[in-house]
Amino acid sequence: MIRVKMIYFAQTREAAGTKGEEFSLAEQSSVRTALSKAFEAHPKLKPLEKAIKVAVNEEITQEDAPLKEGDRVALLPPVVGG
């Protein structure tokens, strides 16, 4: 098993009801696996699925990217700075 840190912001933070949490996943799990687990744990996240981009260790990543122990997986809703 590997442990990854899930991080939520803005709308995903509100939908998840938390700023972050730790997930235990099987070795070789991908970003998609972590997302599925997040949607399962927090059904309110599901409607945001299409709008979310995922960053692993602060780099925007595709859903098939593999995860490793200690990765930070951030669910980023659409952004607007300035």
Binding site: I60, A74, L76, P78, V80, G82
Partner: protein
């Protein structure tokens, strides 16, 4: 300030009192700080490739801000004004679309509404090699004037 710079463009973004005719009392910013600092370093690297600028600084605030308060500052110096204007314009545009920042408007009766955003844009793959030793994002995002980054 660099002695060989002939001009510095300073953009200061402030909180407006309305949006689409709706009264706005203030804004609350949320920032993925760790990622935003990396994005600033990447942005500076990209800008330096495209324009011969001398210096740039970018500061974005987080937390609750009132109408009229400063939310973002971009400063770019260059030998000539053209590249300083272009680079500063480019920098503020990227802040809007490429930075992990979210904001919600404080409306009347204490209600809040998230401002509609766009999916965060990635930087070119060639910039993935950037390391924190090449730049000092902490200095860029946290200048001496602490009040600008502390809500």
């Amino acid at each position: 300030m660099d002695d060989d710079a002939g001009g510095t463009v300073l953009f200061v973004g402030t909180i407006r009192n309305q949006t689409n005719g709706k009264e706005v009392k203030g804004l609350e910013y949320e920032v993925y700080r760790r990622m935003a600092e990396r994005q600033i370093a990447k942005l500076e690297k990209e800008i330096r490739k495209r324009w011969p600028i001398k210096s740039m600084r970018l500061v974005h605030r987080e937390g609750k801000l009132k109408v009229g308060e400063v939310s973002v500052v971009v400063a770019v110096s260059a030998v000539h004004r053209e590249e300083a204007f272009e680079a500063a314009r480019y920098a503020i545009d990227r802040v809007k679309e490429s930075f992990p920042i979210w904001k919600r408007e404080k409306l009347r009766r204490g209600r809040y509404a998230w401002v509609k955003g766009t999916p965060i844009q990635n930087y070119p793959a060639s910039d993935r090699s950037i390391s924190e030793s090449q730049t000092n994002p902490r200095e860029i995002v946290r200048p001496r004037t602490r009040s600008l980054v502390e809500a």
